[in-house]
């Protein structure tokens, strides 16, 4: 079922030139805009996961561990924290995040005690 003209012109607000006022052109640009929005919703999930990973990497490197080592340690221990929450912990809860890194280091056998003394 096609969308009616009024809805299309509403969706076309803010577009450049005739694309916001003339229905024939607006229809084309709005269709393309909706396609971009569809694709963008899928890309957004990938983008944010990569940003979380980079943030976690920075946080773990502050404590002398790499992201890869950290994540393998978490998987081995079956810690279900996802990357979104881990990145927020790295930013807002530095003590908790350090405790996580220390725990991973201990569980992987890279340190003698879970309280964070490096080998």
């Amino acid at each position: 079922m096609p969308i009616n003209r009024q809805k299309i012109l509403q969706l076309a607000s803010g577009f450049r030139g005739r694309a916001r006022n003339c229905i024939k052109i607006a229809r084309m640009r709005v269709e393309k805009g909706l396609q971009h929005a569809y694709v963008g919703r899928k890309l957004k999930k990938r983008y944010w996961r990569s940003v979380w990973i980079q943030r976690i990497n920075a946080g773990t490197r502050e404590h002398g561990m790499s992201y890869s080592g950290f994540i393998t340690g978490l998987k081995e221990e079956n810690v279900q924290l996802n990357r979104k929450v881990l990145s927020e912990l790295a930013m807002n809860e530095p003590f908790s995040f350090k405790a996580l890194v220390d725990q991973v280091r201990f569980m992987r056998g890279l340190s003698k005690s879970p309280s964070g003394q490096q080998q």
Binding site: I56, A58, E62, H63, E88, L89, A90, P94
Partner: protein
Amino acid sequence: MALTGKLAGQVPCITERRVATRIAFQGSRLAARVAPVTRSRVTSPIVCQAVAEYKGDLLNKSYYPTGADAANVNKRWYVIDAEGQTLGRLATLAATYIRGKHLPTYTPSMDMGAYVVVINADKVAVTGKKSSQKTYFRHVNGRPGSYTVETFTDLQKRLPERIIERAVKGMLPKGALGRNIRLHLKVFRGAKHDHEAQKPQDITKEISLKPKNGPGAQVLAAKKAA
């Protein structure tokens, strides 16, 4: 966790407490990677208090910085001594700090990085035969066939700052943001720099080493011999 006695009377506002937390929390080795001063989020020095204080879902909404968080006034300053350092390894470190990739608040679309001052730029080194073989190309006139090619040693005699600037520029993103953060690298020829007032922190020790020159050198050599 309570603030240390030294800091207790000096940090009144809630956003400054985050800096105090980080300072109390990190040792001298990690002091270079202190978080930015102001954040758009309400944070607390007490463990797990930030979640309670934040109006909304702190851990489930990804952080996006505001203009105030990325303001130049709040950026840290660091200094690297280039004397005898390998060019590429120094440039990598500078680019990482300028881009902001050393911070957990890293955001690719905004400039969350730091300022980096490089001193003794005329004494930076390259390995192998690069000092006579590494060339720097430059257009002269805009016309075809009008260009000059300089070797590393010649350019170091003429404009040593350009060597480090070009190395770091190649490691930063290309685009409007890259062009802006390029200006956050300050290179100086001698041992003196103009930014004493910013009290930059020395991060020369963090330049990466080739594994055979690093702390695990004996282990590597033993493996190779075996």
